[in-house]
């Protein structure tokens, strides 16, 4: 007995460093390829470019790139955030009922439906966006159906179409973003709904709480972590996305912040300007996330 305790203690002592050994490779990787590059990028955002035609730059504590980012790319920033915010709200409005249905009403078909929600992940998102191009095209199925029912005027009046077109509108961009990020909103909401103890809902019903109130007071608060995670997983990538704007938008709506960063980096070779825009984008996102987290209060992302 005594010997056993001794070996156990020895085991514990050897094991004390084990967790740190386990996380070390991951931390090292994240440090080298995430933290260091971000610091480098920040340094570049404070640099100046002596020669307009060459990519080289000098570190000069030049904060001018940041003010330039706002003055030169302000409209791109606003556009990106408006598109992303609209898409996030639409995603939540669609994803919540679907997740609720799968969690509480689907019964034995729950896993099939979950699998179907994940099915878009198995198709290239570019091809899916290109499919929207076909669907929304001028001679595409949506518009020709609308025309067959003589709904063209109504669509125009509701500003769903612009000059009789669905494709290359701002709405198409928002619709594309909503489509692309819907599963990312849906899955976290489903996970948090599924964890809810049904007995709580039954208990509320037993105590004569009408369904609406049970939902507001029991189900919705308990599923908030999922809504929170889903919002972040949708909103953050959507702000930086330029694929939907590029494939579904018009020349104006194409000009979102993600495209600005990309062009400055890969076509203009203006790294300081691009780096400053990136940090402005990140700063705004972080600020919004902090405010949002204050309101919805949850420390858990996963």
């Amino acid at each position: 007995m005594a010997r056993d305790d001794a070996t156990n203690d020895a085991g514990r002592r050897d094991g004390r460093n084990l967790p740190y050994l386990l996380v070390l490779p991951g931390i090292a990787f994240l440090f080298v390829f995430f933290v260091v590059p971000l610091i480098t990028l920040f340094k570049i955002s404070l640099s100046t470019k002596p020669d307009r035609l060459r990519p080289e730059y000098d570190f000069t504590w030049d904060w001018g790139n940041f003010s330039a980012a706002f003055t030169d790319f302000g409209s791109q920033l606003v556009r990106a955030f408006v598109y992303a915010a609209l898409a996030t709200v639409l995603c939540a409005l669609i994803a919540y009922p679907v997740a609720y249905f799968i969690a509480f009403k689907a019964g034995r078909y729950r896993n099939v439906l979950l699998g179907l929600v994940m099915l878009p992940f198995f198709t290239s998102f570019l091809l899916r966006t290109i499919a929207w191009q076909s669907l929304l095209a001028d001679a595409g199925p949506v518009l020709s159906t609308a025309k067959a029912f003589k709904l063209g005027g109504l669509l125009e009046a509701l500003q769903i179409t612009q000059n009789g077109r669905l494709i290359n509108t701002q709405l198409a961009v928002v619709g594309g973003l909503t489509y692309n990020f819907l599963p990312f909103m849906l899955l976290p909401i489903y996970v948090s709904l599924e964890k809810i103890d049904v007995r709580l809902v039954d208990a509320a019903a037993d105590l004569y709480s009408p369904f609406g109130r049970t939902f507001r007071r029991v189900v919705l608060p308990l599923s908030m972590p999922g809504v929170f995670a889903g919002t972040l997983l949708t909103f953050i990538p959507a702000t930086g996305d330029f694929i939907n704007a590029e494939l579904l938008g018009n020349p104006i709506s194409r000009r979102v912040i993600g495209n600005a960063v990309r062009t400055q980096f890969l076509n203009q070779n203006d790294y300081p300007a691009a780096a400053a825009i990136s940090f402005v984008l990140m700063a705004i996102i972080t600020a919004l996330v902090v405010v949002y987290a204050k309101f919805l209060g949850t420390e858990d992302l996963a």
Binding site: G11, N111, T123, R128, A137, F211, I257, A302
Partner: protein, 266 residues
């Protein structure tokens, strides 16, 4: 008789609309595999043909790029799953100093827009004069998968009964055997789910890849960069084939699950 409230009908309606929204583009892709395109774009319906399926593997650039995507995904996700899985295991199994800082380090890559991550990696490789290509893509993909794997596995590991490990140790099992027989089987479902999802993320990534790829083409790059020049219908065939494999897998696992359930009950 119980009257269905309006809310229930609304729920069914939105659910139906949600699934339709998710599937209409997928169906469109499948339908367009039978299209005989006029010109270089397979985006407007012309007439029915089976040629695309007959000559499915003729779009060789796309096939090469797809092969590259698979290679990148397998290597990157294996590394990411090992690194991220170990971190998740350490965080959820042991009390550690600096836990909150570690959590922050894991969450940050997920809350960084892809475009910023791509840009920062680009500057790193540019400053160190690293030639961008296959391995820089692997590094970038590993990066965005590590956090994803770590957080997914962490969420799955919460609530597992770690005292089983102590029980094995008390019964004289050496640590390695405890890991093989107890710990590993407990964590394997979470880890394999995270691996599969990170594979999907990696194969589909365009934005970060476009910053670090150099001249190497992955499938999304090939599709996007040539989407303004040409989209051969074979691309739709490749995509539909992958989708079919996914559907068959989902159906098969579900049927197997239902059978197992029935057997356990019966």
């Amino acid at each position: 008789m119980k009257r269905r409230p309006l809310a229930t009908w609304l729920l069914y309606l939105v659910t139906f609309f949600g699934f339709a929204y998710l599937f209409v583009p997928l169906i469109t892709i499948a339908v367009f595999t039978f299209n005989k395109p006029k010109g270089r774009f397979n985006t407007a319906w012309q007439s029915f043909t089976l040629d695309n399926w007959r000559h499915a593997f003729q779009a060789s650039d796309y096939l090469t790029a797809f092969g590259k995507s698979i290679q990148v995904a397998l290597i990157a996700c294996t590394i990411a799953t090992i690194l991220g899985g170990l971190m998740a295991l350490a965080i959820s199994r042991y009390k550690m100093k600096g836990g909150p800082a570690l959590d922050l380090l894991l969450v940050l890559p997920l809350t960084t827009p892809e475009i910023v991550m791509g840009a920062s990696l680009f500057t790193l490789f540019f400053n160190q004069s690293v030639r961008r290509g296959f391995w820089t893509i692997v590094i970038a993909h590993t990066l965005f998968c590590v956090s994803f794997v770590a957080l997914t596995v962490k969420a799955r590991l919460r609530g597992l009964d770690w005292s089983l490990e102590d029980a094995a140790a008390d019964l004289g099992s050496p640590p390695l055997r405890t890991f093989r027989k107890i710990t590993f089987p407990m964590i394997v479902p979470g880890i394999s789910a995270a691996f599969m999802l990170s594979l999907a993320l990696s194969i589909d990534d365009y934005i970060i890849t476009s910053f670090v790829a150099g001249n190497t083409s992955t499938f999304p790059r090939e599709v996007f960069d040539s989407s303004k020049i040409t989209i051969p219908p074979q691309v739709h065939v490749i995509a539909t084939l992958i989708m079919l494999i996914a559907v068959v897998t989902i159906v098969a696992t579900t049927v197997a699950g239902l059978r197992r359930e029935a057997r356990l009950k019966g």
